[in-house]
């Protein structure tokens, strides 16, 4: 039995700071994806929303919020949340509904209206909420964790600030070509070096901003796609949504400590590597078959870590791979041809969906100036708070 589902349509609302409601962004992205798919909203049998924990109730029930905004039509509804992996969880929920035969065509939507400044926990006094505690006790913002990872790479692998800056330079060059990106201009290494330090050793231009944005996909069974006149659509072949294994020995946001490995040996793969591994296993392909990858560059240093965790190179050789140009446009496996989070800024529930939109356009060959020549297979990867992460493999 084929485990593929078809990507019939992809749509986005441009990232930015627009000052409007996430509902409006998501509705526009959804309508764009439906138009791209040539599917009438009333024929959609299920809608899956990736939640935002901002915006009160409409954010908690994003699936229903978008279903109402598009016009109640009786479709099944689901709303999921998994921090940065929320969008991929929504894709997986849609996929399982299709593969189970309970729906033929499903709309997936994620949208966010970002707050100003650092992400911060909801109000209140919650000594049993690790996300609240890391702010209260340590003042540890997300960039603080990125800084720890970056410094560790410098000490262990010899990465340099120049390596980190070159990730930004590469991604900004791609983002300049993407009409949906928030930042559409090239950046130089000198500009990175001249930006303010946020969390030593990382600077403002090493760290992704928070944005408003929305992305949507119309997914269907392969049969529906054929009947719909798309015998050879882009296919989603795998969605990894695994959790860590105890003991989780890599420091994870928002934790104040890792698990202890004193009683139980750590697993053979780190959590991030296990996310990719599960996707490869399910897809039946390996990293050597990838044409491109979209990875979660919350910081420049983290992009290098993903190279290794995705198996694009050996452990510790991420910076070498970058320096060789393998992950640049025209390289062996371009990474973040969309411009990445460096060019978009993160719109949490939309971001993992936007990664898959980029794969869809690249695999269709419609990515314009950003096109990766002859793209046949791509992977997305991200990781979020609380043991969430995901990887999606799409092929044509």
């Amino acid at each position: 039995m084929s485990r593929d589902v078809a990507v019939l349509g992809a749509g986005m609302h441009p990232w930015g700071k627009w000052g409007r409601s996430f509902i409006e962004y998501g509705t526009i992205a959804a309508r764009t994806a439906l138009e791209d798919a040539g599917v009438d909203w009333r024929d959609v049998q299920s809608i899956v929303g990736a939640d935002t924990v901002r915006g009160g109730y409409p954010g908690y029930v994003a699936g229903a919020t978008f279903a109402k905004a598009l016009g109640w039509q009786g479709a099944r509804v689901t709303s999921v949340y998994a921090a940065c992996a929320s969008g991929a969880q929504a894709i997986n929920t849609a996929r399982t509904q299709i593969l189970s035969g309970l729906a033929d065509v499903v709309l997936v939507v994620g949208a966010d209206a970002a707050p100003k400044g650092f992400f911060r926990p909801a109000g209140g006094d919650r000594q049993d909420d690790p996300d609240w505690l890391r702010f209260r006790v340590l003042g540890a913002t997300n960039p603080a964790y990125f800084g720890l990872y970056a410094r560790r790479r410098m000490a262990v692998h010899g990465d340099t600030l120049e390596d980190f800056a070159q990730v930004k330079v590469k991604n900004a060059a791609s983002g300049a070509l993407n009409p949906y990106a928030r930042y559409r201009k090239t950046v130089t290494a000198d500009e990175v070096a001249a930006s303010a330090v946020v969390a030593d050793p990382l600077r403002l231009l090493d760290i992704c901003a928070t944005s408003d944005g929305a992305a949507a996909l119309v997914l269907s069974s392969m049969d529906f796609a054929r009947r719909h006149g798309q015998p050879d659509p882009v296919r989603i072949r795998a969605v990894s949504t695994v959790t860590p294994q105890f003991p989780q020995t890599v420091l994870d946001l928002p934790d104040i400590a890792t698990d202890s490995a004193a009683a139980v040996e750590p697993p053979g793969r780190t959590f991030r590597a296990s996310i990719a591994h599960a996707a490869y296993e399910e897809a039946g392909i390996g990293p050597e078959e990838l044409s491109l990858a979209e990875v979660y560059d919350l910081s420049t240093a983290l992009e290098l870590q993903w190279y290794e965790d995705l198996g694009l190179c050996a452990a510790g050789e991420g910076a070498k791979l970058l320096r060789e140009g393998a992950t640049s446009p025209g390289g062996r496996v371009p990474v973040n041809s969309s411009g990445g989070l460096a060019s978009f800024g993160e719109a949490v529930p939309a971001q993992a969906i936007a990664q898959v939109c980029e794969l869809a356009w690249q695999l269709r060959g419609t990515a314009g100036e950003r096109q990766v020549a002859g793209a046949r297979a791509g992977i997305t990867a991200n990781q979020g708070l609380f043991g969430h992460g995901s990887a999606v493999v799409a092929v044509r």
């Binding site: 702010f135 003042g139 560790r152 105890f246 420091l251 490995a261 004193a262």
Partner: protein, 147 residues
Amino acid sequence: MSRTRTPVVADWFSGEGENFRLLGTQCGDCGAVFFPREDAFCRNPGCTGGELAEVPLSKRGRIWSYTDGRYRPPLPYVSDPDAAWEPYTLLAVELEAERMVVLGQAVPGVTTADLEVGMEVEAVPGVLNEDADTTWTTWHFKPVSTR
């Protein structure tokens, strides 16, 4: 100015001076150690669950990584909005016996320029912030031999 000294989180640390320790819990069945403490259940998926007893963590460890906070963090981190922001230094410290990494702020005055990965540090009592009635205490990490 007679403020009560209160730990910012109850039962995460205790003791004064040389006797100061971070406190975790340990499963009586499988031996797994937890910090922050688990008091209800052992989180080893292969363990049917033993008694969780309080244990002090190693006082000393080695720097796994470090960073700082150059911008004022949002609430619930408490800082004086009228005072210029003083960056804090944040350490991730590997405890050898426990085979785990624990975060903590460095003692005031230590900057990232003073640190390197692998350096030995120890957990010492510290003050997180003060309000009208309370001195909120915490743990800090301090390099063992100041150069």
